[in-house]
C-alpha cells in the first residue's frame, strides 16, 4: 500500500521553511519585549538558529559550485569553435584586402613601365 503524502518524508525545502518559521517567531518575540533578560535570551536563541540556517544555505551554494565548475569546460568548447569561425571571417577580409594589393602592384608596374614609354 502506498503511503499517503502526509506520511512521506518532508523535503529539504519544507524542513528549511519550518526552521525559518521558528527563526521568525523568535525574532518577533525578541522585538516584542523590552525585558533585557528576555531580549538577551531570545536574541541568542535566534542567533543560534540563524547560524544553522546560514550554514544550510552555504552548503547549498557549495553544492552548486561543483555544477558551475563542471559547466565551464563544456562552454569553453563552444567558445573555441566561435574563435575558429571568427578567424575564418578575418581570413575573408584579408583575402579581400589582397585585391587591393593586386591593384596596387599593377599600379606600381604601370608607373615603372610608363617611364620608358
Amino acid at each position: 500500500m502506498a503511503s499517503s503524502p502526509a506520511n512521506s518524508d518532508p523535503t529539504e525545502g519544507q524542513v528549511y521553511a519550518a526552521y525559518q518559521n521558528a527563526f521568525d517567531i523568535l525574532n518577533d518575540a525578541c522585538e516584542s519585549t523590552t525585558d533585557t533578560d528576555a531580549v538577551g535570551f531570545l536574541n541568542d536563541a535566534a542567533q543560534a538558529l540563524g547560524d544553522v540556517l546560514t550554514q544550510e544555505n552555504q552548503i547549498e551554494i557549495q553544492a552548486n559550485t561543483a555544477a558551475f565548475t563542471a559547466l565551464t569546460p563544456e562552454m569553453k568548447t563552444a567558445n573555441d569553435a566561435l574563435k575558429k569561425l571568427k578567424d575564418q571571417q578575418a581570413a575573408i577580409a584579408a583575402k579581400i584586402g589582397i585585391a587591393g594589393k593586386v591593384f596596387s602592384a599593377v599600379d606600381g608596374v604601370l608607373q615603372l613601365t610608363g617611364k620608358f614609354m
Binding site: 546560514t54 552555504q58 579581400i96 608607373q111
Partner: protein
C-alpha cells in the same frame, strides 16, 4: 576629349553603346562587379540581430549576478560584525578574524569564471554575426577602392593615358569595392550560417543548465538576505533595549530610526533578486530563440519574443549598483556623523568605550 564613364554597378548597360576600346575595359570591371553582386545575392546572417540582443542581455545578467553575489557577501559580513559587536557588549568573546564570507573566494571564483565564459560566448556570437559588417572587411574593401583609383589615375596620366583610351573613374573603383565588400559579406555570412546552428544547438543545454544554476543560487541568496536583515533588526533592538539607559535622547532617537529600514531594505532586496531570477529565466528562453533563429529562415516568429526580452533586460538595469550605492551612502553617512548615526555594531563599540 575626356569622356564620361558610367558607374559599373548602376549604369553599365549604357556602356554597350560606348566607344569600343574604352568600353571593353570598363565594362569588364562593371561585369565583374555585377557577377560578384549577383553571386553574393542577399545572403545575410540567418540569426539576424538576435546575437547582438542576446549579448546585451547576457552582459546585463552577468553583471547583475556578479553584483548580487558581492552584495550578499557584504550583507552577511555586516550581520556578522553586528552580532560580534553585540557579543562583545555582553562581555562575550569575539574574534573578528573568525569572520567567514557567505560565499567563499573559491566558490565566487567558480561562478565568476563561468559567467565570464558566458559573457565571452555571447560576445563571440555577436561578433560572428556582425562579421559580415566587420570593420576589417569594410576597411579592406575601401583600401581596394583606393588602390584601384590609384591604378586608374596612373593609366590616365602615365602608362595608358591617351594611348589605350582606358581609364578607371572613382565611381568605377567604388563600384568594384562595393561589389568586393558584398562578396566578402556574403562569404562571412555563409560561414556564420553554416556554423551557428551547430554551435548554438550544442551550447543550448549548457546555457539552460547555467541559467537554472544561477536561479537556484538566487533562491539561496534570497533566503540568506531574509536571515541577515532579520538578524540585523533583532540585534539592533537588542542593543537598544540593553543600552538605552546609557544613551542620550539623540542617540536613542537615531538608533530607533534605523529599525524600520532593515525591513524596507529586506523587501527591496528580495524584489530585486526576484527580478534578477526572472531575467535569467528570460535569458535562457532568449538563447533557445536564438538557436531556433539560427536554424530557421523564419526570423519573424522569434522577433517579438526577443524584443520582449530586450525590454526586460533594459529594465533590469543595474539593480545591485543601487544597493552598493546605498551601502556607500550609509558608510559615508556614518563617517560624516562621527558616531551619532552609526550602525548598531559601531554604536555598541562606542558605547562600550564610553563605559
Amino acid at each position: 576629349m575626356r569622356r564620361a564613364i558610367c558607374s559599373p554597378t548602376a549604369q553599365h548597360p549604357i556602356c554597350a553603346g560606348c566607344n569600343t576600346r574604352r568600353s571593353s575595359g570598363i565594362c569588364a570591371a562593371a561585369f565583374l562587379s555585377s557577377v560578384i553582386l549577383f553571386t553574393s545575392g542577399c545572403t545575410a546572417i540567418r540569426a539576424g540581430k538576435h546575437p547582438a540582443t542576446f549579448a546585451t542581455a547576457a552582459n546585463l545578467v552577468v553583471q547583475n549576478s556578479t553584483d548580487a553575489y558581492k552584495a550578499s557577501n557584504d550583507l552577511h559580513e555586516r550581520e556578522e560584525v553586528s552580532a560580534g559587536a553585540l557579543a562583545v557588549e555582553e562581555g562575550k568573546e569575539w574574534d573578528f578574524n573568525d569572520l567567514t564570507p557567505f560565499i567563499s573566494p573559491e566558490e565566487m571564483k567558480a561562478r565568476t569564471e563561468t559567467l565570464d565564459v558566458l559573457k565571452l560566448y555571447a560576445q563571440s556570437i555577436a561578433d560572428v554575426a556582425a562579421g559580415a559588417d566587420s570593420t576589417a572587411l569594410t576597411k579592406a574593401a575601401k583600401s581596394a577602392a583606393g588602390d584601384m583609383e590609384g591604378l586608374g589615375s596612373t593609366i590616365n596620366t602615365k602608362a595608358g593615358g591617351g594611348k589605350s583610351g582606358a581609364s578607371i573613374s572613382k565611381e568605377a573603383a567604388d563600384g568594384v569595392a562595393t561589389a568586393l565588400l558584398a562578396f566578402g559579406q556574403s562569404l562571412a555570412a555563409k560561414k556564420a550560417n553554416e556554423a551557428l546552428p551547430g554551435i548554438t544547438t550544442s551550447m543550448d543545454p549548457h546555457i539552460a543548465s547555467l541559467c537554472d544554476l544561477l536561479i537556484s543560487d538566487i533562491g539561496f541568496l534570497r533566503r540568506q538576505a531574509k536571515l541577515d536583515y532579520g538578524s540585523l533588526a533583532r540585534q539592533e533592538w537588542t542593543f537598544i533595549t540593553q543600552f538605552k539607559t546609557k544613551m542620550s535622547p539623540v542617540e536613542l532617537h537615531n538608533e530607533i530610526e534605523k529599525l524600520p529600514t532593515f525591513h524596507i531594505d529586506e523587501e527591496s532586496t528580495d524584489a530585486k533578486l526576484a527580478d534578477l531570477a526572472t531575467a535569467i529565466g528570460k535569458l535562457k528562453a532568449a538563447h533557445r530563440d536564438l538557436m531556433n533563429a539560427a536554424n530557421s529562415n523564419d526570423q519573424e516568429t522569434v522577433k517579438d519574443k526577443l524584443a520582449d526580452f530586450e525590454s526586460a533586460g533594459s529594465n533590469l538595469g543595474s539593480f545591485y549598483n543601487s544597493l552598493s550605492a546605498k551601502s556607500s551612502s550609509d558608510a559615508k553617512s556614518d563617517s560624516d556623523t562621527s558616531g551619532s548615526d552609526k550602525s548598531s555594531s559601531d554604536k555598541s563599540t562606542d558605547t562600550k568605550k564610553k563605559e
